[in-house]
Symmetry: C2
Subunit: 362 residues, 2 copies
């Protein structure tokens, strides 16, 4: 196990990465104030891992209240969030009761938001069970639910007390979800670490075969980069926006097709290629760079052709992006491969990208 440390102005917390960590109550106990936790998971993950974790905590004399939610991005709504509040109140959970998120990004985002709002702030713990959640959403304190007009529109910044990323939990991860997680891993290479991109190109086969050593290295590298960026800019006033590479296009794909049609990671992957193509048209990337982005996405088993939403719909959906400022959509683009920047894009270039070679021809 290795432990990274995320230090912020008001708090700091450990991110434990390794194997056989799910039964390790000792990693959680220092962060549980009262002898009561709400253990929140979904119908897919709960049958696999909830009983183990529950037993480990109950062995330490902790009262565990399990809350099992429906699975999927289309349940990342107020209605599901309210199921958490209902259960917490029915079980008389207090504002010092710790909430544990056991699941992927949707569970992590919702439990974090629920913890932030329950009695104005209960402690919470992230135990991510997907690669995507391990490398991205469980770290950094972004919590949210979706709104029909935009993804993650309703949420707050709220940090967990500890993150435990157990590679063993990825054994049960479907191939498609593994690929989706790899999109966010690739993102870190593209936006700030060209050497890591090279490592990924060399090790993609091992990653897709769930080689634990390779996965662990990929998660560590990703989390270390994320922790570094978040510690500089917790609330995304500046550099943190770079972590949104591929997300402006990606969120539009998710919302345009209906949340849950494409996985978040798939949409981000295709979105990163659109961002790369945009960067090429602006003169910053070469054709070879764009092909390299396309190739690594294909290696990861990710789609590279985005759906044809129609330019008007693309623009409408992207106009709800949280980076919009004074009415202008701001994109995370590539200055060079391995270095991202935030920029606006001229209308004609956008038009070209959104009708171009990486958009599906009906």
């Amino acid at each position: 196990m290795i432990t990274l440390d995320l230090t912020l102005p008001d708090t700091r917390y450990p991110i434990h990465i390794g194997q056989q960590l799910l039964g390790r109550a000792d990693l959680l106990l220092p962060h549980i104030k009262h002898k009561k936790v709400a253990l929140i998971s979904n119908t897919t993950v709960a049958p696999l891992y909830l009983a183990n974790l529950r037993q480990a905590l109950e062995n330490q004399g902790i009262n565990v209240i399990p809350i099992v939610l429906p699975d999927g991005e289309d349940f990342k709504t107020w209605e599901t969030l309210n199921q958490i509040f209902d259960a917490l109140l029915q079980h008389r959970c207090e504002r010092n009761t710790t909430l544990i998120a056991l699941g992927g990004g949707v569970i992590g985002d919702m439990v974090g938001f629920a913890a932030a709002c329950y009695q104005r702030g209960a402690p919470f713990i992230q135990i991510p069970t997907t690669l995507l959640a391990q490398v991205d959403s469980s770290v950094g304190g972004k919590t949210a639910i979706n709104h029909p007009l935009g993804k993650n529109m309703i949420g707050v910044f709220y940090q967990p007390r500890v993150v435990v990323a157990d590679m063993d939990l990825l054994d049960s991860l479907p191939e498609r979800e593994l690929s989706a997680g790899l999109a966010e891993v690739i993102k870190y290479g593209l936006l700030g670490n060209l050497a890591f991109l090279g490592w990924l190109e060399q090790n993609m086969e091992a990653l897709r075969a769930k080689d634990k050593q390779a996965l662990s290295y990929a998660v560590q590298t990703s989390c270390a980069m994320k922790a570094d960026i978040v510690s500089q800019d917790e609330k995304e006033h500046g550099v943190r926006a770079l972590l949104n590479l591929g997300h402006t296009f990606g969120h539009a794909i998710e919302a345009g097709l209906g949340f849950g049609t494409w996985l978040h990671g798939e949409a981000v992957g295709a979105g990163m290629l659109l961002a790369a193509e945009t960067s090429r048209l602006l003169g910053n990337l070469s054709e070879a760079d764009v092909q390299r982005v396309k190739a690594i996405l294909e290696q990861a088993g990710l789609p590279t052709i985005s759906p044809d939403l129609g330019v008007a719909t693309w623009l409408e959906l992207m106009s709800h992006d949280k980076k919009v400022s004074d009415g202008e959509i701001r994109f995370v683009l590539l200055q060079t491969l391995g270095q991202a920047q935030v920029a606006t894009v001229p209308q004609d270039v956008l038009q070209q990208v959104l009708t171009g070679r990486f958009i599906s021809k009906a």
Copy 2:
């Protein structure tokens, strides 16, 4: 106009108190980043004041989006909150769009919560239009909505950029609501300022006649005390809990009768008398002290007899209080008149209070 300053670890903001402030766009402009604001009010307040404020802002070239919500504590729900989010997204409000709360405590709490959650945090301004909101809810950053199982159960701490308390807006305040606000004013005297309690006893008639000088002094004194306490303990880990004098009983009255049946201030007033009676039974207050509390509430036109919810229902409702810790209800009681403390109460004493002389006999 006088200006108080609330200083917190991460932020500070002014609280302007005086007359003829609603048209003073100059008080708001330094806190509006973009030339766009969402001006959120309710069906009662909007016809009285929205147009004036809107005009004052539009004269400064600001694009004002009015959002008018239904009025009342029973609308302090997720459904109403979602009306705000819908409107913000439909009008393409950005995360730098300022939300202005123009209304009483319900509007202030909901707009604050909406601002905290909209795109993970938009700036907001409080313009309280009731005495209760001016002396209590608009200052200190507590935001929330109600849950059927408990008042203000879902919310966050989120501070406004500026608070503008204009005494002129109280001209339209119904007598019953003025009295409800006076309950929170009396609270400051009881919990920490005996001299102020004496002043209130002398000046209650002027306050109820809406004498602007008297109101302004009461609001200043209340806000100064609140600002002092909040600056010591923003997130209620300690001393801030004292501001909850009367609220554990009061919230139970509100929830037990259905939100909106008693006004919040009425419930807090009656709850303070129950807290005083509890304090007497514990040997801390004299009978004369309790009578003095009862008398000032009566002077303010407030009810002093609480509804008979039944002991079991009282306990059930109070067990959801946010101050509950390790299953024990913690009350704010009076150590002496003018000094509050947090304490637990033996079951037999609680039983006696909840069936005693300040509970309605059917």
